[in-house]
């Protein structure tokens, strides 16, 4: 009986084939499942970080607030005194737009230099922290175009915009 059993184990492969194939199929499914999981996890992680970045940027932009303390025009220089009255540090100015009374752009300044409020020194990191004050000195290339009720718009690196009017 024992010899017969051993013989069957060694030479009768009918059920073994099924077991092996089932094992292989299961392994393949597990492997595929894991790889799909890893891939989907990576994709969702990318999406999460992208979304997170967007939310962070939007939140930061929301917290930015610049107040115009004073805008003084003495041709050809336009001096703008700013106060960071928002709730976020490192407010950097990207672009300044000057519009005339008919809202036509007169001049655009990219990355204008920020000076200390009352001195002649540039602000070292070129940004305004919370409750910091700074000064922009913009030289208008065509002062004759600037007259009457004009507008200045400031765009920050984070994309927030602030504008005010002044009389040239």
């Amino acid at each position: 009986m024992q010899i017969r059993k051993i013989f069957r184990i060694l030479f009768d492969k009918r059920a073994i084939n099924n077991a092996v194939s089932a094992t292989i199929m299961t392994s393949v499914v597990i492997a595929l499942g894991l790889s799909v999981f890893t891939w989907a996890q990576a994709r969702s992680s990318d999406y999460n970080s992208e979304f997170s970045e967007t939310v962070d940027t939007e939140t930061a932009r929301l917290r930015e607030k610049l107040a115009f303390e004073y805008v003084f025009y003495d041709a050809p220089n336009l001096t703008v005194f700013l106060l960071n009255c928002g709730t976020i540090d490192d407010v950097k100015i990207k672009t300044v737009y000057i519009y005339d009374s008919s809202s036509a752009p007169i001049q655009i300044f990219s990355d204008p230099l920020l000076y200390s409020f009352q001195g002649l020194d540039e602000i070292p990191d070129q940004d305004l922290d919370i409750q910091d004050e700074g000064r922009l000195v913009l030289t208008i290339s065509n002062p004759e175009k600037l007259s009457g009720f004009c507008n200045i718009k400031i765009v920050t690196v984070r994309g927030a915009t602030f504008d005010t009017d002044f009389v040239a």
Binding site: F37, A67, D74
Partner: protein
């Protein structure tokens, strides 16, 4: 049990559908895990953003609720310094912090600013006068110049400083000259002890004074000089009382005195009234330039009737800007009684 039956099925060669089931379970788990992860993450980030929006909205509301009033502004210039006296009141519903004062000299198109740190609770006010007077340096500033100024609060609001109402004809008519007197606030004082005025600064608001008691007078004067110069009153300025109906009685005189919180100085320190400034001036001494218990003045009953009417004149003398100044204001009639 399930696992055993699965193994048994596989052993028996009936493994059909196992991999499909496993695959489905796996995929379902994957989808569930990933979507839950993304959902929760998105939810938490959205919550953060909503919170930030809420905070900013609150800040904007606070900013709009801020209402600081700066009134009664008075400018005076000494050299290159512009002195600003102003009354500040927080009439809003939120606390306010004033961080900067800007002054613009419109006559010469020059400006400057000074940093401040004035915190005001709702309803709270501050008199920025006397030792608290604000000052800003503007080269070339002059008393005759026009000024405009504003405060900047920590929330970024600007508060214009409202100047004292311009001089109106009625005010000038009160006094022919550079100084006007406020009639309803004419007052007299008796003495507390020695050189201390009783009930200072209110005194007795009346046109009636008693005989045989040392008294002093308080007069509220405003400098309305058209050239906007300060007026410096010298020690000879006096309040003069005469009884026209009783020719034999010599007039009584109370000379100007300087005082601190109602205590009269022994020797007179020059009293100055800046342009548009209103000041209480005390007349108390029989002697010009000094004050002691011996120089107190009382109206003696003597040959005067029980109720006698006297004419009061205000004789003001001193310097206005760089020029001499003298003014006589016949302004009040006074009844005397025992």
């Amino acid at each position: 049990m399930i696992r055993i039956s699965w193994l048994k099925k596989i052993w028996d060669g009936r493994s059909k559908g196992i991999s499909t089931v496993l695959g489905t379970v796996f995929l379902t788990l994957v989808i569930f895990a990933i979507s839950t992860n993304v959902f929760i993450w998105t939810l938490s980030r959205n919550a953060e953003y909503t919170l930030a929006v809420k905070e900013e909205n609150q800040k904007n509301i606070d900013c709009l609720s801020e209402n600081v009033i700066a009134s009664g502004t008075n400018y005076s210039v000494s050299g290159k310094k512009v002195f600003i006296k102003v009354t500040v009141k927080n009439a809003g519903s939120v606390a306010a912090q004033i961080i900067k004062l800007w002054v613009f000299d419109t006559s010469q198109q020059k400006y400057n600013c000074t940093s401040m740190n004035l915190n005001l609770n709702p309803g709270e006010g501050e008199e920025l006068r006397g030792l608290k007077t604000l000052q800003v340096t503007i080269f070339g500033a002059n008393q005759s110049h026009e000024f405009a100024s504003w405060f900047v609060t920590a929330r970024g609001n600007t508060v214009p400083l409202e100047t004292i109402q311009e001089i109106i004809v009625a005010q000038v008519a009160q006094g022919i000259g550079s100084i006007s007197m406020d009639f309803p606030t004419f007052r007299s004082f008796q003495y507390d002890i020695n050189d201390m005025l009783k009930d200072y600064p209110n005194g007795t608001l009346s046109y009636s004074v008693p005989y045989d008691t040392p008294i002093a007078f308080g007069v509220v004067l405003t400098n309305l000089d058209p050239s906007r110069e300060p007026i410096h009153l010298d020690k000879y300025s006096q309040l003069w009382l005469d009884f026209p109906a009783v020719p034999g009685v010599p007039p009584f005189a109370w000379h100007i005195v300087s005082e601190t919180n109602g205590i009269i100085d022994a020797s007179y320190s020059e009293v100055s009234i800046l342009y548009a400034e209103t000041k209480l001036i005390i007349f108390a001494s029989a002697e010009p330039g000094s004050f002691s218990s011996l120089s107190k003045v009382e109206i003696t009953h003597g040959q005067l009737k029980d109720i006698e009417l006297g004419a009061v004149n205000l004789l003001l003398h001193g310097i206005i800007g760089d020029s001499d100044y003298g003014q006589n204001i016949p302004f009040v009639s006074l009844s005397c009684h025992p």
